[in-house]
């Protein structure tokens, strides 16, 4: 086994990816066996042994530890892999690196005919700087979140747990949480190391399913069920677009492998008409929009907050939603210039949309959800305008501090006995100092204060935006809106912090708040460190000198080189800083010094406040435009196919001769033949004389024919 591992270092990553899958399989089988043995635990000795060995009535704690150990091991492997890959890439030539860090096998081969070899769908991995960095980030963040959720999900341990929202008694589900979390980690890591679009698509949908199960973890709550469905279906719409892109690529390139596609693209351009190439690009981007909750398909992310907080932290902040940005970065050459422009504008709309809605949210997790939507908008904007490195760097830094913020909010919620409403919190600084301090770090980082990781990446994005806007000032909005939104971001993040941690507790929940246990505090502190230092580079005060940026520079696809136009004069940096400062001062002005009462602003804003509170009415619009018509179409086509009558009248309905539905046509055919039979019956009247008359007519006819044929003819 070890020899296989050391054959090529790339396999390190394969093992790291498969570890969570192994854990998932183990937990699944364990849970299954336990469930099968439950009814027979009294009668059969062996079943009794299995049942209690696998945890008996109380869910098993060791399952969770196994899962955490699994993900921790893959995190260690990831870091080792990163280190080895970095020095390999320095020392060896690209071909040599290619050989050691990329492999693939065929998954399904079809069509091996005389006219050519079989074109195969294959699975494989290929490690480059981007993958190595992201892999390490995802693994480490996941490990932190696993450790955090050991503590957070503690109340799922009891035998009968009373769900505080759905008020129903149910057995604890501690093991199942880690089951789906490990499956998610596997599919996320698999997505990163994939070397072809098909494998990305497979893990794309697997990740969607894991988010479906995790959002719907508390499936007694009706809202959780609805949110899970919504998330999966909206993702599925994105995946449908992705599949259309895949189909076009498959038809014209004949392969899904990134390298082969990029070399063919670089050598002789897209082998299909321009509009089809654009559609392929848009298709793949639609997949990313669905997954990263960009403008048209963003409505599912805030509802995904129904899931437990570690889920929101892991899936809906750090990793899954980042997958969309990663994919845009990975298949960058696939996007033609005008598709890139579309990406930029989608990003711009999303970031503005997310920020404005986050301003008025009162639920702590919803604020963070919308801030995630907004930050993802920033990344898409950066990628759209050619700032490949800026976008992906922001992806990396954002993952750390957003995970920190979410975990902080989790600890706050647990501290305040499952209270999520900011208006009921206050003054938690004194009761939960460490959470308060670590969240402050996160808030500072996201607001873009200097020397924090957020500053480096956001600054780079804004300078790219400025460069792009100056270069082609028709797109000036692409710089103005993000600048303004940077200010908004600072405002709503500090608003959250001040509402939660400063002032006096406004509700008994926040009065009796208590600091979370150690297993939750340690991850917060550990995550606070990278939120500050991950993007540092020498010299410290120069935002463009981030070490992370240099690393990512290596992985930039060839064609993206000429695109990014950084503004050398740091003007964008200063402007961003000014905007952020403005945002912070207004927040302090309103929430700390209480010069202006927020309620009065709401009164003045009136309709605008309602508009923002209702999340720009997207849910209602989509419901009216898509959901309700589809269901209506479903019901009327069902009605067209068979008029569903209750069983009692069904017998009669089938006898009536009206074509009410496609199925009715059949009944009519049947009854028609019955009617014809009825008519023919009448001719047998029983009177002999009538039969004789018929006889005479018949003979007359025969003789007439006979005469006509033989004698007249």
């Amino acid at each position: 086994m070890l020899s296989w591992l050391l054959a090529t270092p790339g396999r390190l990553y394969v093992v790291a990816t498969l570890l969570p899958l192994a854990v998932f399989a183990l937990l699944l089988i364990g849970g299954g066996v336990r469930a099968v043995c439950r009814p027979y635990r009294e009668t059969h000795g062996f079943a009794r042994f299995c049942y209690f060995f696998l945890g008996g009535h109380k869910p098993l704690k060791s399952g969770a530890y196994l899962a955490t150990a699994g993900i921790a091991a893959s995190a260690v492997l990831a870091v080792i892999g990163l280190v080895r890959f970095l020095d390999d890439s320095h020392a060896l030539s690209p071909i040599e690196v290619e050989h050691r860090w990329a492999e693939r096998t065929s998954w399904a081969e079809v069509g091996a005919t005389e006219s050519g070899p079989a074109i195969a769908l294959d699975l494989g991995y290929r490690i480059d700087h981007l993958t190595a960095l992201l892999f390490a980030m995802v693994a480490c963040v996941s490990t932190m979140i696993f450790v955090f959720s050991l503590g957070y999900m503690h109340d799922e341990m009891e035998e009968t747990h009373e769900d505080h929202e759905a008020h129903v008694k149910r057995p604890g589900r501690y093991g199942r949480f880690f089951l789906f979390l490990s499956l998610f980690c596997f599919s996320m890591l698999n997505l990163l190391i994939a070397d072809n679009l098909f494998q990305v698509f497979i893990s794309w949908e697997l990740v969607g399913v894991c988010s479906f199960f995790l959002i719907g973890f508390y499936h007694e709550r009706r809202s959780a069920g609805l949110a899970a469905n919504k998330a999966f279906i909206v993702n599925r719409i994105g995946d449908a677009g992705f599949m259309i892109g895949l189909a076009i690529i498959w038809t014209y390139f004949g392969t899904f492998n990134f390298q082969e596609i990029f070399t063919k693209l670089a050598s002789d351009g897209p082998p299909m008409p321009a509009y089809l190439f654009a559609i392929a690009g848009i298709g793949v981007f639609l997949g990313c929009v669905g997954k990263s909750a960009q403008f048209p398909l963003h409505t599912w992310l805030p509802d995904a907050m129904e899931g437990p907080t570690p889920v929101s932290a892991l899936i809906h902040a750090a990793t899954m939603v980042a997958a969309g940005v990663y994919l845009v970065g990975r298949c960058y050459p696939l996007f033609s210039p005008d598709v890139r422009l579309l990406i930029a504008y989608t990003g711009m709309i999303t970031l503005f949309l997310g920020a404005t809605i986050a301003l008025v949210q009162t639920d702590i997790k919803r604020v963070l959800a919308y801030s995630t939507v907004s930050q993802l908008g920033f990344m898409m904007l950066a990628l759209g305008i050619g700032g490949w490195v800026a976008g992906l760097m922001h992806l990396l830094t954002h993952a750390f501090f957003k995970a920190l913020l979410f975990l902080g909010s989790g600890s706050v919620i647990l501290g305040c006995h499952h209270e999520q409403d900011l208006r009921k919190m206050g003054g938690l600084r004194r009761k939960m100092p460490i959470t308060a301090f670590t969240m402050l770090v996160g808030v500072l980082a996201i607001a873009g204060t200097p020397f924090f990781s957020g500053w480096y990446s956001k600054d780079l994005i804004l300078s790219n935006a400025m460069g792009f806007a100056l270069h082609d000032n028709q797109h000036m909005a692409l710089f103005i809106v993000p600048l303004f939104t940077a200010g908004l971001t600072a405002f709503y993040m500090f608003r959250l912090w001040f509402l939660a941690f400063t002032g006096q507790p406004r509700d008994h929940a926040s009065e009796h708040a208590h600091e979370s246990p150690l297993t939750m505090i340690v991850p917060l502190m550990i995550l606070a460190v990278p939120s500050i230092i991950v993007a540092w580079g020498w010299p410290l005060w120069d935002p463009h000198s981030s070490s992370l940026a240099h690393l990512l520079e290596h992985a930039k696809p060839g064609m993206a080189n000429g695109l990014d136009r950084e503004d050398e004069t740091h003007l964008a940096g200063w402007l961003a800083l000014a905007a952020a400062a403005l945002g912070v001062t207004t927040a302090v002005f309103i929430y700390v010094l209480k010069k202006v009462d927020p309620a009065s602003i709401q009164a003045k804003a009136g309709a605008l406040y309602g508009f923002l509170k209702e999340k720009w009415y997207f849910d209602e619009v989509y419901d009216a435009m898509f959901v309700r018509p589809t269901i209506a179409l479903g019901f009327c086509s069902a009605r067209f196919d068979k008029k569903s009558t209750p069983a009692a009248q069904a017998e009669v309905a089938d006898r009536t001769m009206n074509v009410t539905s496609l199925d009715g046509v059949l009944n009519v055919l049947g009854l028609g033949t019955l009617a014809i039979g009825g008519k023919l019956r009448v001719t047998q009247s029983g009177y002999i004389r009538r039969y004789v008359t018929v006889l005479m007519v018949a003979t007359l006819a025969f003789v007439a024919v006979f005469v006509a044929v033989y004698f007249v003819g």
Binding site: A108, A112, T113, V168, E205, R236, T251, K642
Partner: protein, 623 residues
């Protein structure tokens, strides 16, 4: 020369055993005294298990046949001599001069004269297209027998009919003689009528009669086509030696027959491979490429060698003025066969029998109906309709493709509007079988013929995958029906909390039928969609968007049945799945995962060569 013991054809014995073992056990079950219900069930189970094991041996046999003759080079297992036509041609050649070359016992082709007057023989064979269907049938019937443990009403008759049904289905898949296939195709109907009519639900009579009449109309179409085929003189596509032997035999039987001259000798047959060659010749002629016809042994490039040995191309061409080789006869023949099998698939305008049959049939029967009987339609199309009239199939491929795409979208939307769980699954079967039809229709030729190979293999795989997921899903409904005695989706709720194991297993089946990667539903759909775009994007886009609607209605059902808290308290009193139910559900889930993760090693390795060979044979006909 072959040694003596090859004289006995092992493959004939094994194949006939697989076909008739279920019927034998079925009859055996009838002799049990009525009170021994438990013994009857176990006997039926042993019968089904024996057939399953036999079919698996056959699969291993077939796999080794492919291995033995595969050239290890580029295309392992694709050696032309392993293809069905080559093997049948070889065994027919050995028939004629049996003295020098006795039949080889392991070529998995066997033919015993049955009604020699009309040249109908008990011709059975196995290749990559029929083998997966056979294994699927025995598998699903085995689980259906396990699922039938709850049947109480006259148990003996039930199991006898079920096992005879299995014989009918298996026979259809084995037969390479049209007449034999038609006989087995009809045998399937009678047990099905009684199974639905006696053990069914509320309006079983209506459903049973509707099912049988509808399918009979379909099979009448097929019968007309078969007779049309029989009256074609196909002497050019058989070796001249065989034709002369046949004429000599006829002379021996009734000497007073006027002596036919060598020229006017006729050869009529029901054998599928020969009719396939005639169909291909018709396509060449109608495409104006008669000159590409060549003798079977000629090696010239670009020629299609489908004529019998010793037949000259010129007189083969001028013998082609029979009706069979005219355009409208090909159209009529294809439409007859296609509509006949489309009723079975079913394709929307002709699908009205499926929801009623499913709703009224008992659980094990709707498992069999959905898992196996729908595949008869698909198998008929790929085995008969396409190879025998390729020209009309190619002309109408857009029409067939549109039907397939319409089926997918229509099935999905109608399923969304259902409130009865089984009716919903019936329509979802219609939608999934739409992929199969779409996969067949994506006719692309020349260098791009590989995309059609993807479509066809996707369709075949989708049939297997749908067989497993739909049978599993119907069993899921059966389990909850045994407890709740109603199938109203809105009447359930919160089953995930009351029956966690049941919830978990049905989650796997729900997502498999939704086409989640890593499970079997995904593989078929992706192959078909990837193959379709090259043929016509207008068909691929609805097929792709329909996956969203499929996800919609399945998840909506999932949410109403499993999530949330149930409105009426009785839902929370249901016991979790028993061991028996867990075995069936568990094995379906295991199959779904295994086929989703390893399609190549488990299925494609031995199924794909035959499907691709058929695609290649038809694709090279078009210029």
């Amino acid at each position: 020369m072959e040694n003596a013991d090859d004289m006995i054809e092992h493959d004939l014995i094994l194949m006939s055993l697989v076909i008739f073992a279920p019927a034998a056990f079925g009859l055996l079950v009838l002799f049990f005294p009525p009170k021994w219900t438990e013994a009857v069930r176990w006997c039926a189970l042993i019968g089904a298990a024996a057939t399953l094991i036999l079919s698996l041996c056959l699969l291993i046999d077939y796999h080794s046949l492919l291995n033995r003759q595969s050239d290890r080079g580029l295309r392992s297992m694709h050696h032309p001599s392993t293809q069905l036509d080559a093997r049948i041609d070889e065994s027919m050649r050995r028939d004629t001069n049996a003295v020098r070359w006795p039949q080889i016992g392991d070529d998995l082709v066997a033919s015993v004269p049955w009604i020699s007057r009309f040249d109908i023989n008990f011709a059975i064979a196995v290749d990559g297209i029929s083998m997966p269907m056979i294994v699927l049938t025995t598998l699903i019937l085995f689980f259906a027998v396990i699922a039938s443990w709850g049947i109480e009403k006259n148990v003996r008759a039930y199991f006898a009919l079920l096992l005879v049904l299995e014989t009918g289905v298996l026979g259809t898949f084995f037969a390479t003689d049209l007449f034999l296939m038609y006989v087995f195709y009809e045998i399937v109907l009678i047990p099905m009528y009684f199974l639905i009519g006696i053990w069914g639900g509320g309006r079983r009579k209506y459903a049973a009669i509707k099912f049988v009449l509808y399918t009979l109309v379909g099979s009448v179409f097929i019968l007309v086509a078969i007779i049309g085929l029989y009256f074609t003189n196909v002497r050019d596509f058989v070796d001249t030696a065989t034709v002369d032997d046949r004429a000599a035999e006829r002379m021996k039987e009734n000497p007073r027959l006027s002596k036919e001259s060598a020229e006017s000798r006729e050869y009529h047959t029901f054998s599928i491979p020969i009719l396939q060659r005639a169909g291909q010749a018709a396509m060449l002629r109608l495409n104006g490429q008669g000159d590409r016809l060549a003798d079977r042994d000629s090696k010239t490039e670009g020629k299609v060698n489908i004529l019998g040995r010793g037949v000259k191309t010129e007189d083969a061409i001028n013998r082609m003025n029979q009706p069979f080789f005219s355009a409208n006869f090909q159209y009529v023949l294809f439409l007859l066969l296609f509509v006949g099998f489309a009723v079975k698939v079913p394709i929307p305008p002709l699908h009205s029998w499926l929801p009623d049959a499913h709703v009224e049939a008992p659980t094990p029967i709707s498992m069999v109906l959905a898992g196996v009987l729908l595949k008869l339609g698909g198998y008929g199309i790929i085995r008969l309709a396409y190879p025998i009239c390729p020209w009309a199939a190619e002309e109408l491929s857009l029409f067939v493709g549109c039907l397939g795409a319409f089926a997918i979208v229509y099935g999905a939307f109608v399923a969304m509007g259902q409130t009865d769980f089984k009716r919903l699954l019936a329509y979802s079967s219609v939608s999934h079988m739409g992929y199969v039809i779409l996969g067949f229709a994506v006719w692309s030729t020349g260098a791009k013929s590989q995309y059609w190979a993807w479509g066809m293999n996707g369709a075949m795989f989708q049939m297997i995958a749908h067989g497993i997921t739909s049978a599993g899903m119907f069993f899921v409904v059966g389990v909850i029906y045994d407890r709740a005695h109603h199938r109203e989706i809105n009447g359930f709720g919160g089953l995930m909390t009351t029956m966690p194991l049941y919830g978990g297993l049905s989650a796997i089946l729900f997502f498999a039928s939704m086409g989640l990667p890593g499970l079997c539903g995904f593989v078929g759909e992706v192959f078909v969609v990837l193959g379709t775009w090259n043929y016509n994007p207008g068909l691929a886009i609805p097929a792709i968007l329909a996956t969203v609607v499929t996800a919609g209605y399945l998840l909506w059902t999932w949410q109403r049945v499993y999530l949330g808290v149930s409105t009426n308290p009785v839902n929370s009193t249901y016991p979790d799945v028993t061991a028996r139910e867990a075995i069936v559900l568990g094995s379906f889930c295991l199959l779904a995962i295994a086929l989703g993760v390893l399609p190549q090693t488990l299925v494609l390795a031995w199924m794909e060569p035959s499907v691709t060979a058929q695609v290649e044979a038809l694709a090279k006909l078009k210029p």
